[in-house]
Amino acid sequence: MSLEERELEVLIGPQHPASGHMRLVAKIDGDIVVELRPNIGYVHRSVEKLAEVKKYLQIIPLVERPSLADTTANNLAYVMAVEKLLGIEPPPRAQYLRTLLAEINRIHSHFYGMGIHGVMIGSSTAYMWCFGDREPLIELAQELTGARLTYSYIVPGGVRRDLPQGFEDKVEKVMRYLENRMPDYFDLYFNNPVTRARLEGVGVLTKEDAIKLGVTGPNLRASGVPYDVRKAEPYAAYPELDFDVITEEAGDAFARVMVRVREIQESIKIIRQVLKKIPDGPILNEKYMKMIPPNLRKQVEETGHIKFPGVFANLRVPAGEAVARVEGGRGEVVFHIVSDGKMSPYRMRMVTPSFRNVILFEHLTKGARVADIPAIYGSLDYFPPEADR
C-alpha cells in the first residue's frame, strides 16, 4: 500500500462476528466507513432445495431451523400455504392458539434481538436481562408445545396441542412480570445516556429509502411506515383482535429498538385478548379429526394432544400454487409453494425478513464511524442463517 492510499479494507467475520456467520467487508478511511458490503451465504442450508425431496409434514421442522428465535412465523406461513393448496381451514380455536404462540414467540424473538444488540454496543447487562427475560416466555411455549424453540406446533388443519391446565394463569403472571420489569429496562438501558449516545441519530433510514429498498418488519416501521402483514392481510385470529401497528418516526437505531419494545407491549395486549376470547371447540380440522380411529379420538379429547391421522405420513397436496405470508418477529415471511400433486413440493420458495433487510448494511453504514457498525448491525435484528436459508 502506498502512502497516498488512504483507504483500508477491514474484514469483519466470517467466524460469527455477531449474530451468526457472515462477513462484512469494510472499506474505511480513518474512522469513517467508505463502503461496507455484507458477504452472506456462509450458513446456507439449501432449505428450498431440500424441500423438494421432503414430504409435506417433514418440511415443517426444516423451515423452522433457519430462524432459531422466530420459528413460529416460518411454521405458520408454510402451513398456511399448504392449507391453501389442500383447501382446508383450521377451526377457530386452533386459529387462536396459533396467534397465541406467534405472539409469545414475537416477544422472545424481540428480546433475543435486543439482547444481542445490547452486547454489541457494550452493554452486557442488557444482554443478560433480555436473555434472562426470554426464559419465562420460553417456559410458556415449552409447556404448550413440548419444546423450547423448535415448536413444530402448527400442522395442516390445526395445531398439535390444546392449552394445558392452568395455562392462562401462568401466562398472566409472565405478562405482569414483563410489565413490572419494563420501567427498569428504561432506567437501566433505554434511557441510559450511554445507550442514547450510541444509538440516537445513528444509521438513519428515511421513509422513502425504507420503501424503495423493500425493508420489512420493525425496521420498516421505525422509519414511519405503518405496514404490518397482521393488518394488511390478516390471518389466524388477528382480524378479531384489537391492536395497533407500532411506528416510530426517527428511523435511527434507537427508533428500531423502540419499535421492538413497544411491540412487546402490544403483544402483551394481544395475548390477553386471545386468552379472553378463545372459543371452545376442536383444534384440528374435522376432516382430519374423522380420520383418527375412534379410540384415539377419545384420547385426543381427554389429553388435548392431537394424534396424527395416518395420511399425514404421506400427505398428498393437490397440484397448484399458493403463496402465504405472515408478520414474524423480524418482519414479513413469505412462502410460495408449487405443487404437482406429488408427496413433495415441486418447488418451494421461502423469503425471510433477514434476507430483505441485509441490504441495509450497505445502505446505512456509508459515512458512519467504525464503532457504529455494531450499533447499526444490532439494531436491524439481522440473523445470518435466516437470510441464507
Binding site: 417456559e139 409447556e143 423448535t150 432506567d187 437501566l188 405420513a313
Partner: protein, 163 residues
C-alpha cells in the same frame, strides 16, 4: 440537558445496584440443579414392543430419518419372513415428536429425559431390541437437586425444589 443526563446516569446506576443487592437471578444452576419438565415435554422416546403393530408410520413421517424400520432377527427367523420394527438413531433425532403423534397404538411415548450424551457414536443408535429396553438413565457425579420452574410476576422464574 447536562442535569437531565446526570439524573439518567444516576438512575441507571441505582437500578443496577437494586438488582445487584436484590438477588434477582434467573439462572438455573445446572448440573447441580436439574429442571423437571412439564408434562408433554418432547424428550427421548420409549418404545412398547408388545403393542406395536409394525405399521411403519413412525419411520415414514420422521423428518430426520432418525426412526427407521429394522428387520427384527428372531421374529423373522421364527416366522420365516422378514418382520420389521422401528429403531431410533439419536444422532439424527430432532425431537419433533411426529413419530409419537402418528403412532396409532401409542407404542411410542415421550420421556422427559433430553440428555443425549453418549461416549460413542454407535451407542446412540437404538435398533428395536435396544429401543425396547428404554432410555439410558442419566448419570451424575453428585446427585443433583431436582427443581421445577415456577413462573412468578415479581421474579419471572423461580426454581423450586421438588420433593
Amino acid at each position: 440537558m447536562a442535569v437531565e443526563r446526570t439524573i439518567r446516569h444516576i438512575k441507571a446506576l441505582a437500578t443496577g445496584a437494586k438488582y445487584m443487592l436484590g438477588g434477582h437471578r434467573l439462572t438455573l444452576m445446572y448440573p447441580d440443579d436439574i429442571q423437571e419438565f412439564p408434562d408433554g415435554y418432547r424428550g427421548m422416546i420409549e418404545y412398547d414392543w408388545d403393542t406395536c403393530i409394525k405399521c411403519g408410520l413412525c419411520a415414514m413421517v420422521c423428518p430426520a430419518d432418525a426412526m427407521k424400520m429394522y428387520v427384527s432377527k428372531e421374529e423373522s427367523e421364527e416366522g420365516k419372513r422378514p418382520v420389521r420394527r422401528p429403531g431410533i438413531n439419536y444422532t439424527r433425532c430432532i425431537f419433533c415428536g411426529f413419530c409419537v403423534d402418528i403412532c396409532p397404538t401409542n407404542s411410542l411415548k415421550f420421556t422427559k429425559v433430553h440428555d443425549v450424551a453418549f461416549y460413542t457414536f454407535e451407542e446412540q443408535i437404538y435398533p428395536p431390541e435396544r429401543f425396547r429396553e428404554g432410555i439410558p438413565k442419566p448419570q451424575y457425579d453428585k446427585e443433583p437437586r431436582r427443581v421445577r420452574a415456577v413462573l412468578d410476576e415479581k421474579r419471572g422464574i423461580r426454581y423450586e425444589p421438588v420433593e
